[in-house]
């Protein structure tokens, strides 16, 4: 029986006898079933124990208070805007238009770590900034940086284990200390991160906080030279420590109150400092910091001069996916970078739906 045989009209029997049709019908059914099964598996509808972006976002939600209408991570923050002015050296690093254009408009968001959209600023160890630089050729560069100097875990699977350990135990209403300890035991970088969190001094403002891109990227300049880089935003404002006693006395919104006061006196500024990798530096592992001795180039200055609530401002409706990059910059193979992109997209889809339908988390009155 030939796979591709056919009989023209009027020349003998058109179809096989019914009994001979069965194997062919079975083959057709098998082909369709395999395709449908593969589709469902890749979509994450079957084999649900596999870690998907949806699964990850669900775990974050389980570990957090009501987040409807807000980001699933670093949920509390404010929108900011201003501009970026590249330095003369910037164009030697990357051909990105934002590094050669005199002044680039910036939309951004300053935020605190944690999943509570109405959380207390004085309880958040981690702070963060997200930026969108839009060049005059229309290309965008979105980036998201944190106050910690390295990521606590090297892989998305480790990140998920860490998040899952924070899901409150139904019996106690608190994370299970054994699960938290198991993550620390498994990942040396998580122990180093905990040490950083305990010992590094807290600054008293977003404006004097250094924000680090712990993920690496590749810059390509006009000559086609490529360099692996990380960058940080070095505040121009002087560092001032907020010690434990001071933290107990400041208000839950002290960071936005402080920023408002500072902006009344003029823009707040950060220098973009780009570190260039040396051979052997961990490019695809954000849990390993690079030595401070790496060559550094100041690529420009960020000035922020306006602040708005995230409900009113433009940042609420932006996904600061760190892999939205202009020509001249590309992401490294860091798996955390890919996972951030995937989970941010889930977070964005969920909060846009909630904002569209008006189902938005409200602050608890008694907590304020």
């Amino acid at each position: 029986m030939s796979l591709f045989g056919h009989t023209p009209d009027g020349q003998g029997p058109r179809t096989p006898r019914p009994s001979a049709q069965l194997p062919w019908l079975a083959l057709i059914a098998a082909i369709l079933a395999v395709a449908a099964f593969a589709f469902a598996w890749l979509a994450g509808w079957i084999g649900r124990d596999r870690l998907t972006a949806r699964h990850f976002a669900d775990t974050i939600e389980a570990a957090s208070p009501d987040q409807r209408g807000f980001r699933r991570a670093h949920s509390k923050g404010v929108c900011v805007s201003g501009w970026f002015e590249p330095s003369a050296q910037a164009a030697t690093l990357s051909s990105a238009r934002v590094f050669s254009q005199p002044r680039v408009p910036v939309l951004g968001r300053l935020s605190i770590g944690g999943g509570d959209p109405h959380g207390a600023d004085n309880s958040a160890r981690v702070r963060s900034i997200a930026l969108q630089l839009t060049a005059d050729d229309g290309q965008q560069w979105r980036m998201a940086m944190n106050s910690f100097p390295f990521f606590a875990v090297p892989t998305p699977e480790g990140f998920h284990e860490q998040t899952r350990a924070q899901v409150p135990d139904p019996a106690t209403g608190k994370p299970d200390p054994q699960k938290v300890a198991a993550v620390l035991e498994k990942y040396p970088s998580a122990r180093a991160f905990q040490e950083w969190a305990k010992t590094a001094p807290w600054s008293d403002s977003w404006a004097n906080t250094r924000f680090n891109s712990v993920n690496s990227f590749w810059f390509t300049n006009a000559k086609g030279q490529q360099r692996a880089v990380r960058w940080h935003w070095q505040p121009q404002a002087t560092f001032a420590e907020l010690d434990a006693d001071a933290r107990a006395s400041v208000g839950v919104d002290f960071l936005s109150d402080d920023l408002q006061r500072r902006l009344a006196d003029g823009p707040v500024r950060w220098n973009m400092v780009v570190s260039l990798a040396e051979p052997g530096d961990a490019i695809d592992d954000p849990s390993i910091p690079w030595p401070d001795s790496r060559e550094q180039v100041v690529a420009g200055v960020l000035s922020l001069d306006h602040m708005q609530s995230q409900e009113q401002g433009a940042c609420g409706q932006l996904n600061f996916d760190p892999l939205i990059l202009p020509s001249g910059v590309r992401g490294s193979d860091d798996p955390i970078l890919a996972a951030r992109s995937a989970v941010y997209s889930q977070s964005f889809n969920r909060r846009e739906r909630e904002r569209a339908t008006g189902a938005v988390a409200q602050p608890k009155e008694n907590a304020r």
Binding site: H6, T15, Q139, L323, P335, A338, A342, R353, A356
Partner: protein, 188 residues
């Protein structure tokens, strides 16, 4: 030897099989990219240019389809199967056209830059609002599932013609008319 065209013309056949590969790839890339924690960056860089390529090709394909008569279906095909064939073919055309446009509009409504590849961007075609983004994002998924289901039915029907009915319907898309008369297919 007949001069009648009982096969789709060469352009139709080339477009059919190349777009079949592209659309199947797109459906699998799409669901994988949304679910995977690792593959999204690689796959999304394929998804957008492939989607725009399909949009351009389907316009050419529609033009060709409207200018050239399709080979008639066998005269003894039951009426419901003729109906199903016509409905599913127009459904496929509608979805091939709608999917890239909905995707493009969805990215616009989400405030995303529509990057095809390094340095090449398309302009937004819809306003940036949460409601429109949510509607288009949902539509993009649901239409993709509908397209996948329609493609499966189409493949099932094509193989039914090939292996059960053996009536030359599959060959009308799979091969050109043969020059040396004896195996010429004729539905009349």
């Amino acid at each position: 030897m007949s001069t009648r065209t009982d096969h789709f013309n060469l352009l139709a056949r080339v477009l059919h099989w190349s777009m079949a590969a592209m659309i199947l790839a797109m459906l699998f890339i799409g669901v994988t990219m949304v679910a995977s924690l690792h593959l999204r960056p690689v796959l999304i860089d394929l998804h957008r240019p492939l989607g725009i390529a399909i949009l351009l090709l389907v316009l050419l394909r529609l033009y060709n389809r409207l200018r050239h008569r399709a080979p008639p279906l066998p005269a003894d095909l039951p009426a419901w199967q003729i109906m199903a064939a016509k409905a599913s073919h127009w459904m496929l055309y509608a979805l091939m056209l709608a999917m890239p446009l909905v995707g493009w509009a969805m990215l616009s409504a989400g405030g995303y830059p529509i990057v095809l590849w390094d340095g090449l961007q398309l302009p937004p075609i819809a306003p940036h609002t949460p409601l429109l983004y949510t509607l288009l994002r949902t539509a993009h998924s649901l239409l993709a599932y509908l397209l996948f289901a329609t493609v499966l039915m189409h493949v099932g029907a094509a193989l039914f013609h090939l292996w059960i009915r053996r009536d030359g319907v599959f060959q009308a898309m799979a091969q050109g008319p043969e020059k040396r008369g004896t195996e010429e297919v004729n539905y009349k």
